[in-house]
């Protein structure tokens, strides 16, 4: 990864013509063969860039990137303020948190978190408008449909109400209670849920994780 902070001007020729006039900018040349010109704005978006495969040459303070589509990006460095290269090595990649799936797994293992006396009947209980995350029975034997979200919104309540309506058609389940479980439930969703007879339960993911038994590993 090479970082160059320089007063520069940039010309692009290809699908259209574009020019960035003389100003101080950051030029990023990555090990993957890409080049990007950044201003101190626009967050992650460069002002101009070229993706690999492209050929990058530097002659007498002019960096030129060109590719097979005959596009050319020409960066004239008028004054170099900083120029340094770093070996970043292999990136381990972005580890995304599958919060809803994990929540469902954790709550399925401990449905009592959602209400005393609850016991799980089935995860992903099918209805003709889609599966409801959990179907449980409470201490009195009543069916409880549980929809699990990371953030509980009005749309989540509407979704759960649709499931409840379908489940209520099954005489062995009706009348079905409904619980919306989320790490955070928006105030408007809470009001709407109350008006539709849906109970809201906020759960703490970290607490649920802490309560889950850790996998046994060799090392």
């Amino acid at each position: 990864m090479r970082l160059v902070v320089a007063r520069c001007s940039v010309e692009y020729a290809g699908r259209l013509g574009a020019r960035l006039p003389d100003a101080v900018r950051l030029v990023v040349l990555k090990a993957d063969g890409s080049i990007a010109v950044h201003a101190d704005a626009k967050a992650y978006k460069p002002l101009n860039w070229m993706n690999p495969p492209c050929t990058i040459t530097e002659v007498d303070g002019v960096i030129t990137a060109s590719n097979r589509q005959a596009e050319r990006l020409v960066i004239e460095l008028h004054e170099v303020l900083y120029d340094s290269s770093f070996e970043l090595g292999q990136d381990p990649g972005l580890a995304k948190d599958g919060v809803e799936a994990e929540l469902q797994e954790l709550l399925a293992a401990r449905v009592q978190t959602l209400g005393a006396g609850l016991r799980l009947v089935r995860r992903e209980y099918p209805t003709d408008v889609g599966p409801v995350d959990l179907l449980c029975r409470d201490g009195a034997g009543r069916a409880v449909a549980v929809e699990i979200k990371r953030i509980g919104e009005i749309a989540s309540v509407e979704q759960l109400v649709r499931y409840r309506e379908r489940l209520d058609r099954d005489g062995s389940l009706s009348p079905v209670l409904a619980v919306l479980a989320a790490t955070r439930i928006k105030p408007q969703a809470r009001v709407f849920a109350e008006s539709r007879g849906v109970e809201c339960v906020e759960v703490d993911l970290e607490e649920l994780r802490a309560g889950a038994p850790a996998d046994l590993r060799l090392f």
């Binding site: 063969g33 690999p52 381990p92 293992a109 089935r122 038994p213 996998d215 060799l218 090392f219």
Partner: protein
């Protein structure tokens, strides 16, 4: 330039090289292609994802020499559907004509100049028996991790022993160790870590008889077979100290017929539904023998007794059912031994009649 080749020959070569083609090409779109190198009397097909490169040479009538890259998936699907007979390929500046029987196709090529430089075999070649190596890989490779978050565990350790070589792989839940005496692949005291994906492909390619020539370089290892060459990058880093995990003795010992146990595991775990691979299966061991059971809270329970001989204290231990089945499969012997300490310590699976393979399996915690 052009060449003519029999469809069966070309289809086999394309299918083999295709196995190394990158599934995600990222910054190098050309890696979605197969490099075709036309040489006098033969065509070499090359697939690579940079970690693994497979090169296959096939005899062909060649007119003109040079290189081109064709989209691998298209070529592979095309070859698998063409009728038997001759295939003619004519490569132009940016497209290739493919003809077979009444079939005609003109497809765009990718720039051969963008294809990465091909790794060449480094070091001095060592010839070893292909059959035992294939068997060892079959036993060990499935235990390697597929999680790139711990890259060292995605490799298989190949370490020199006093009389041959040892293969070791682990994903931290199970560990497979196979000794291959007489397979003098490495110099004394040497060990390398090779990506499991590459070795899995090698295992498919290795014949049951004959030899494979191995070239060990600084950063890569090349396996050369008749007409095919597979090069895998070495994984950098230190493999965990696995030897300390294998106790010298176990107080509890179960002897059981492998197929009977595997069949019962497959039946009992069905109750786990879609999660059956990761669902735990309990082994209740006592003087009466073995009873398997599985419970899925939202589905139900299953039980099955299995005839077995047990020496030790009464014990119930649970394992990930798929990992247990992998171990049973890898052990290979008709009768096997499961040795255990307690429900939270690793158990060992091994054949009752040989000591060259062991499979260490971590239990699953159960309520």
């Amino acid at each position: 330039m052009k060449f003519r080749c029999e469809r069966d020959t070309l289809a086999d070569a394309v299918a083999t090289a295709y196995r190394a083609v990158a599934s995600r090409t990222g910054a190098l779109p050309v890696l979605a292609g197969l490099l075709l190198r036309l040489q006098p009397n033969e065509v070499e097909l090359v697939g690579s994802d940079l970690e693994l490169t497979i090169r296959v040479r096939v005899p062909a009538e060649v007119d003109g020499v040079g290189s081109a890259v064709l989209v691998a998936r298209l070529l592979q699907e095309l070859m698998s559907r063409l009728a038997a007979g001759a295939v003619r390929v004519e490569i132009g500046e940016d497209q290739a004509k493919i003809e077979a029987g009444r079939f005609r196709s003109e497809v765009r090529t990718l720039a051969a100049s963008d294809f990465p430089r091909l790794p060449e075999a480094e070091g001095e070649g060592v010839k070893v028996a292909a059959g035992p190596l294939a068997q060892g890989l079959r036993q060990v490779v499935p235990a390697a991790s597929k999680d790139d978050a711990r890259p060292i565990l995605t490799g298989v350790l190949i370490a020199a022993t006093a009389d041959g070589v040892r293969l070791v792989a682990t994903d931290s839940y199970r560990l497979a160790v196979r000794d291959l005496p007489g397979l003098n692949l490495l110099g004394e005291g040497r060990s390398v870590l090779v990506g499991a994906k590459g070795l899995s492909e090698l295992q498919r390619l290795l014949p049951t008889e004959g030899e494979v020539e191995v070239f060990l370089g600084e950063r890569q290892v090349t396996f050369r077979l008749d007409g095919t060459e597979l090069t895998a990058r070495l994984v950098e880093g230190e493999f965990p100290n696995y030897q300390q995990l294998v106790p010298s003795g176990y107080p509890n010992r179960l002897t059981v017929q492998r197929d009977a146990l595997a069949d019962a595991v497959n039946r009992v775990r069905l109750v786990g539904g879609q999660n059956r691979d990761s669902s735990p299966i309990r082994l209740a061991m006592s003087a009466e023998g073995l009873e398997l059971s599985a419970t899925a809270q939202d589905v139900g329970q299953s039980y099955e007794p299995v005839e077995a001989k047990y020496e030790g204290t009464e014990l119930t231990v649970a394992f990930n059912s798929q990992f247990l089945l992998d171990g049973l499969e890898a052990t290979g012997s008709s009768e096997l031994v499961i040795e255990s300490v307690d429900p939270l310590k690793p158990a060992v699976l091994r054949a009752s009649d040989t000591s060259d393979f062991l499979y260490l399996l971590m239990p699953v915690r159960i309520a």
